[in-house]
């Protein structure tokens, strides 16, 4: 994990997805050059070029971010690419029972097919342009759940296996926020109401 996973945009210049790990616990905004590192506890120290360092709790830096909607501009139905990042994708295999003694404690996902490629959010569609040249697409309208976990984002398309995206570039948190924003907009457009929860299943008010 890195600071860019928390700060999906630079609090100083607002560039989305620009804070990248720079080694030795530092992260740097590729747009304005501001540098970030963790201080004591959950404090983050930010150093804008030419300015004194600023120290604030992580939560305060988060509050300083623009809303994702404002950062991306209006509308997502025009098919433009809102975000693209390199990922390793895994299509889930069949669930496997977790047993202790003779008792079934529950089930866990198994890993199925693995793919690498470019993940894009294009309007109301998530696409994966595989390195092999193949293309896969998932309509947001068909998703029943979205969640992030550690360094991955998972989507559950209706009637199809869970897809897990592990990010080589980009932030899982940014993608979770983006997908949720796109879903909320879509649901409003379709008159389905306000989404209250995204996992384990999308629920509207």
């Amino acid at each position: 994990m890195a600071i860019g996973d928390l700060l999906w945009a630079c609090p100083f210049c607002g560039a989305v997805g620009a804070i990248q790990a720079a080694g030795r616990g530092r992260s740097v905004c590729s747009a304005c050059g501001s540098a970030y590192r963790r201080g004591r506890g959950s404090l983050l120290i930010a150093h804008r070029p030419g300015a004194e360092p600023e120290v604030r709790p992580a939560a305060e830096w988060l509050q300083a971010l623009p809303t994702l909607a404002a950062a991306l501009g209006a509308g997502n139905q025009d098919g433009r690419v809102l975000r693209e990042d390199r990922v390793e994708a895994t299509i889930a295999g069949p669930d496997e029972a977790v047993r202790r003694g003779g008792e079934v404690l529950g089930f866990r996902e198994t890993a199925g097919e693995s793919l690498t490629g470019a993940l894009r959010l294009e309007g109301a569609i998530v696409t994966l342009e595989e390195d092999s040249g193949a293309r896969r697409a998932w309509d947001l309208e068909d998703l029943t759940a979205i969640q992030s976990s550690s360094r991955v984002v998972q989507i559950k398309p209706r009637g199809r296996p869970v897809v897990t995206f592990r990010f080589r570039t980009g932030s899982p948190r940014l993608w979770e926020e983006l997908l949720q924003l796109a879903m909320r907009r879509l649901y409003r457009t379709l008159g389905r109401g306000e989404i209250r929860e995204f996992q384990p299943r999308i629920v509207v008010r």
Partner: protein
């Protein structure tokens, strides 16, 4: 093995987390079924809460953990965890939780469903609230604070910081067998549970906490 795990963690925490304080242990029922409902700030939370909870805790744990080599075996065989799949309604997880309660055990759940990104309380998971309303057992709020400063979700490094675990008075919730009655009660249950957690959350080691005489090691 479970008691050995608890002892080991408590010992290690004296060295690496010397400021862990535990309050409200008397609020955890000595016996009989109960649900320990916690907030979730850090990957450390299950380790710390299970180690300092006075009763063995059967904790609902994300299913992917059970596929991790060695760790998956440990949590399955010795740490009383049971899996919940997080991208779908998981009736088996609910069945196991209710079964443990029928057996008179203490069951642990994280009402936010995942670690907080900013250390603040997140909205509660509706499925967890439904479980609390269906179970009809004492619901003990357990607030952990400070673990976010030690190991937040967005960093690999640990920092020393005071950690406090506080068990609160059981939250009075009705037992509702009717599904529609449970749905109607979700907002009230959320307010009660999250309100109880909010009241218990206080930065460990603050002057207020010290003045209140709080904080003894479990």
């Amino acid at each position: 093995m479970y008691r050995a795990f608890q002892g080991t963690v408590r010992l290690l925490s004296r060295v690496f987390l010397p400021s862990v304080t535990v309050d409200g242990l008397h609020n955890v029922p000595d016996r009989g079924p109960c649900l320990i409902v916690s907030n979730h700030q850090s990957i450390l939370d299950p380790i710390l809460i299970q180690s300092f909870c006075p009763r063995p805790l059967h904790t609902m744990t994300k299913s992917t953990q059970f596929g991790v080599p060695v760790f998956g075996w440990l949590v399955r065989e010795h740490l009383l965890a049971f899996p919940v799949r997080r991208f779908q309604i998981d009736p088996q997880a609910v069945r196991v939780a209710l079964r443990r309660l029928e057996q008179g055990r203490a069951v642990g759940v994280y009402v936010e469903g995942e670690r907080s990104w900013d250390g603040h309380l997140q909205p509660p998971r509706l499925g967890t609230l439904r479980l609390l309303l269906k179970a009809g057992v004492p619901v003990v709020p357990c607030a952990i604070s400070g673990s976010y400063d030690v190991w937040p979700r967005w960093d690999r490094a640990l920092r020393l910081a005071p950690v406090r675990i506080a068990f609160g008075e059981p939250v009075p919730l009705p037992k509702l067998d009717d599904r529609r009655a449970r749905e109607r009660s979700l907002d009230d249950a959320a307010a009660a549970v999250m309100g109880a957690l909010r009241a218990l959350l206080r930065p460990a080691g603050t002057p207020e906490a010290v003045a209140a005489g709080e904080g003894r090691r479990g």
